[in-house]
Symmetry: D2
Subunit: 448 residues, 4 copies
């Protein structure tokens, strides 16, 4: 009886595995193993205790078993510990979880899941950034209309447009890396953070667990890891999500039949609309934009989780069970959709050119204004007024000149023609593209 | 490989059934049935078409089948229609979905699900309100400390406290009823809302479907029902959720061992803490508070769904697939937890009394202030200053009088003693309780 | 040193007056007056007390005076009461605020401000709805492209588009009316809601204040009015805000030079862009959309204000000082901008017609599909496939027929031509427009 | 007619100056100056242009003047440029703003304001962290009850509690430093980001402006700086805000008269409550918590600003005018309130001790459990069950032992007494405190 759309429709296999309930038992067993091994190494438990046994035992633990025990005990971590204990020798069983609080396990499992999930995201992000770099280079010199307010502006190039997304996606990557330093952290400090149950050995145990799990500890904690960077993580995911939304919006707009410059292509078999069979709807881009709304929403809940009571209250527990996996699954579905969208992308050079020509000189008014200022000695605002008046009164500068508008005093028809060539009004677009790509490569290269 | 906590942990069977994928096929079949029957009745399809067959056919349609078809067609509603068509006679198959757009089905299914889900919520809400009315009446006359800013204030009664929640919960009920009028609405108007595919018969068809499904239509729509009240619905659920959060917070605070007045009781077997075995943690109340954070978050996503493009874009689709079911499942888990919490609630009369006595006369300073104003002719602010000074300087009014504070000029020890009896300083508490209960009964009685 | 944009740029005079600090003193004085008059009428204060004096005294109270007193006393309401008291005769001064708690004043002032602010909103909403009704009627029969997913869909009429906004704006009106019943409520019940300070007279006093202020009381309260409907109010404002966002988005999109159907016009003098003098940017529509983001945000803070502690904590105070006025000022700026936008709106019939022609028959594929199903005996899905194949393979149905596509077996050129006339494929658009207008008139007429 | 609470009540002088409208003119003039100087240095404008003149001219520009011009021109930046131009020699006037787009100015001004505002925040944060370090050290060894779920847990020390806040506040500092690298960035790239108006000189001009303003440029931009880190900035502020909320909540809870351990003290003159004169309400802490709700809300609006259209649309403009200054002013009021709260904080050692004693051995159950496991050979879960049963059946372990509970088989009265000393069950608290302080010092020392 599945009720959540991630069970049957959204989310990749690899990302769902990280958040799968069965897999979670293994994450928990790994942490219990690391703790028990540390306890043994520091001599707090006898040498004939077998930490390794936990890693095998968990294979035999079933979700049903844990759930049945939880129903009885009213506590999910204790239920798991009991189930695990029942599968190993008595001595090992006796020392599982010794001195730990549930959230030593839960929060360290979150950190392990964050690390694994982030690695999937980094991989997808790299693929996407690389693909966008390819597009930025391939279409580096192809002029197209810039658009501001939805109106025609001075020209850019197709590659320049992609280079901006390269930059923004690379920033999202960098941002996640920053968060990771704060949030992928070991929490192994007992019931209120003092490590009291381990006597003098707390820091030593923490150090060993840290080495086993290859994860640095928090400097200090309460019963739980601070939620500040949990919120930071969800915020950073939602920023990435919103950058993808921006790209998807770009495609959705440029796919309009009136514009038709950069289009989400469709396969022949796909049904566009149940009732309007001709429609080639940008459904993948629309899905990406839609999911961004979910991603933005989820940030709020985690921000509210920061102010927990004293050494903690439990209100983060139920909310995070929903917020965290859904945040990662949502971003995952978006990333996979981005890759699909980039594959399907149709860049229609002809339409791009045609629209640029349709705009004519009107979108190069800025250039004329600067020209009049620098070469004809007009003040910038006077030039601005003249051009504006010409366009508003006659619809185009060409026409205004013909009918003898004042502008003609400063501008010949030939000058106008030269100024109206978009290919020579692209500024430093190529060096800026290179700079953006360089930045992106440096950012994603840090991971190699 | 379940990844969503509502698959195994949260959510009642009845509420999950409403949002179950398999059940959704039946909702869809019901709408297709209603449409086909209407088409037949108005004479747009031949008389030997069999609408009833759809209701049987859907029993044979499997999720896997629909998903396989969707993979091929890239469109979920068309996939369902094809699957359904394959199970009925050729003629009936031919006319299924005729003239409808996918969102005639999808949005009408949402409305059907809203209606069913709201009915579950109303039922729970009634149970909770009735239980709270019982508590308000049972403890109507038991004085307890009022608390503002977490500090001791003048007394209320236990029943008065519950009566406030009766009022707030009944308001949540009334609010949902208001929203229902706007959101449980038929959407049967075709691809852009004009009913064009049905020629002159559109309004007649809509009327018949409306009668079959017992649901009034929107006055006008685009391709989709307006999302305004979808957002209103989620906002209203999150308000209800936050009122429950307020009650849960009340219990969590009053369960503190230092206060211990109204406590979430525990069963003997339940494990309080894996490492602190003595703990009787208010975990049910904490769950309710935790889920409220999720509920509040989800509102945002749906608010963003209101500004769809023109006759619609698809960005509401992916987001609503997540937002809507999770919003209802979250509130459902809270409601069920509220019922459980109310059953487990321990009202500790002794502690309530003891704390009231500990507060002594300090929390009745207001009364003394009024007394001095009305009976001794002091200005209100002068009285306020005198009392404040007495308390701040000597810790209690009694003590201040003993050491000869100026207050003694206006107040004898005997007067003080009389004024310090909380039972005679409860104002119109009983009539207010009755008024709140009356209001609540009227609100929930509207449904009977 | 103004720091808030509403001080110099946004917000109308009438709405700003409601939230003006100086005006707020008058609202407070009005409530103190009503209370004192009620106290006198029930005989709790002597007959020679002069409630009317308060209404005159407040004219002499300066903000500076109150702020100076607040600095001393650390309490804003007490500061105001002292300032007011200093302006009246000793006896009257003595009884001001008697038995009231600060929030009897604060919450009743909120309710008075809500009522006044809502009346401004209703007025603007009516104006906007009426203007939209005019447009819906004026352009009732002018066909235009429907658009879904940003792609061409079957036709609507310009009037039909406006009628949808008429409906959605009227729903926003109706929704606010529903909230008003719950949120514009008197709160006059003392320190914890029991009315204790007024002995047996509490309900009688409340009734008299209620009559004076023409405002019904809450059935019961704590120290404060329940925050549930404060949140509901902000949510409802943000829904209205988002509906306006939807309209603004419509205009921004249709103002694109490639579409240019419904355009935000500009005055000759207005500067479009500092550097691109030709630009006619839809800046008013963009402002409306921008402010909707603020409006949606503010809901969250008020949702968090619902779960206050016990008989109240103070955390709603600082947050509401920001959230509530800014929510109303934001919606006000949007409403005024909507009126301006509607005045400036250019409906370009020629472009509307041209785009419809450009779309040709492609957007009427639905109609052909239905025709083939009802008149030529094809199954709906077969018809769907044939048409889809024709369009995807040949770009248009006309061309497919010419080159001998299978579709030609069922469809002649002449039939195609007849089917391709958008004016005869508008369904029940006119009756639906009427129905929407009727609904809207009924809703806004309730106020007359 | 002030309507915004930051005009008269909240916000420090230094922070308000950053967001003051008059001051903003100076920021704008500074950017225009830097640009004009760069233009001159690269030889795009004649050598007898005087950039310095702009810095003097702005002193003469009045807000009224700019607003009047804006009313005429409908464009705020052009209005400012005109006003500025009117105050300098003709030649200089002619070249102001040459080749720039409005958002070269607006976004660089934002960056300058961010830098100045962040510096104020860093200063406050350092003060707060240092004060908290002092408290952590002063009360390092004073045992107090740990509290989880609001229930008594094993002991911590007062200093340990503060050290956790030291850590969380230092993390907030570190996080802001990370964001600063991405958001305090120069945007000087013209109308669509290509620098076209400056021909080949774009990058050179950008470099010079960058040196003058001491601010690195974005690698690439559209017409505007990417909004990703604007959202990141507001999210990071709201996380800091929520950490302060957590501290304020700590104080509010511990100020409850039943607990009374760490209290917000009051001055003698301050009025606690207008009607309950005895109240010593933690109003500063409540204000901090209240403002956090606002801070969390504002994040959403800026997240929505990320997906702008193409090379930009204007919807970020109106929303950021509200969101950004209010976000900074809110955090500023919180920071100043935190400093005040820390000054007023009363740490009541006696009550801390008394409550610890009241808890008796019950909160050390964990320790007994570990002891039984490690020293008496019981399995951890068996020990857990025994203790739980003892407490639930007899209320305390001491009593259970007395009446012959099974626990007595493993635990003598003397052992119990030794185990029940909280001072010997504090684990590595002191080293953890040191570690947290060390981390914090390193973080805030980076700025020296």
């Amino acid at each position: 009886m599945p009720v959540c759309v991630f069970e049957w429709r959204y989310g990749s296999r690899e990302m769902k595995e990280v958040w799968d309930q069965k897999k979670r038992l293994k994450y928990m067993a790994l942490v219990e193993y690391a703790l028990l091994r540390a306890l043994k190494e520091v001599g707090l438990v006898p040498p004939d205790v077998h930490p390794d046994a936990l890693l095998q035992a968990v294979e035999e633990v079933s979700l049903e078993e844990v759930q049945a025990l939880e129903k009885e005990l009213g506590h999910d971590i204790m239920a798991f510990v009991e189930a695990l204990a029942s599968k190993v020798d008595e001595k090992t069983a006796k020392y599982i979880h010794l001195g730990a609080t549930s959230y030593d396990i839960v929060d360290t499992v979150w950190a392990l899941q964050f690390r694994d999930a982030l690695n999937i995201i980094y991989k997808d992000l790299k693929d996407i950034i690389k693909k966008m770099i390819d597009l930025a280079l391939e279409y580096k010199h192809v002029p197209m209309l810039g658009r501001t307010h939805g109106q025609w502006a001075i020209p850019i190039t197709v590659g320049f447009k992609f280079a901006n997304y390269v930059y923004e996606m690379a920033r999202a990557y960098e941002r996640l890396k920053d968060v990771e330093r704060r949030v992928v952290k070991l929490k192994m400090s007992g019931a209120v953070g003092t490590m009291a149950a381990w006597g003098e050995k707390g820091l030593e145990i923490e150090k060993k667990v840290s080495e086993i799990l290859k994860m640095k500890p928090h400097a200090i904690t309460t019963q739980v890891a601070p939620r500040d960077s949990f919120a930071e993580l969800l915020a950073s995911l939602s920023i990435l999500s919103s950058v993808m939304d921006r790209f998807a919006l770009e495609v959705r707009e440029l796919s309009r039949p009136e514009i038709s410059e950069i289009i989400e292509g469709v396969s022949k078999k796909q049904v566009g609309s149940s009732t309007m069979p001709h429609k080639a709807n940008p459904v993948t881009a629309e899905k990406i934009s839609g999911l961004a709304k979910v991603s933005r929403s989820l940030v709020l809940g985690e921000l509210e989780n920061i102010p927990l009571w004293h050494e903690r209250d439990l209100t983060n527990s139920s909310s995070e069970r929903i917020l965290i996996p859904h945040a990662f699954l949502t971003i995952d579905e978006q990333l996979k959709s981005m890759k699909k969208l980039l594959e399907k992308l149709v860049i229609n050079i002809e339409n791009i050119k045609r629209n640029l020509e349709r705009a004519g000189c009107i979108n190069l008014a800025e250039r004329i204004m600067i020209y009049l200022t620098l070469n004809k000695g007009l003040a910038r605002n006077r030039a601005h007024q003249l051009i504006m008046d010409a366009i508003r009164s006659y619809g185009s500068i060409e026409k205004a000149l013909k009918v003898g508008h004042d502008l003609g005093k400063y501008l010949s028809h030939q000058e106008l023609e030269t100024l109206c060539n978009p290919s020579t009004y692209l500024g430093s677009y190529d060096k800026l593209i290179d700079r953006a790509i360089q930045y992106a490569k440096r950012v994603i290269g840090e991971q190699q």
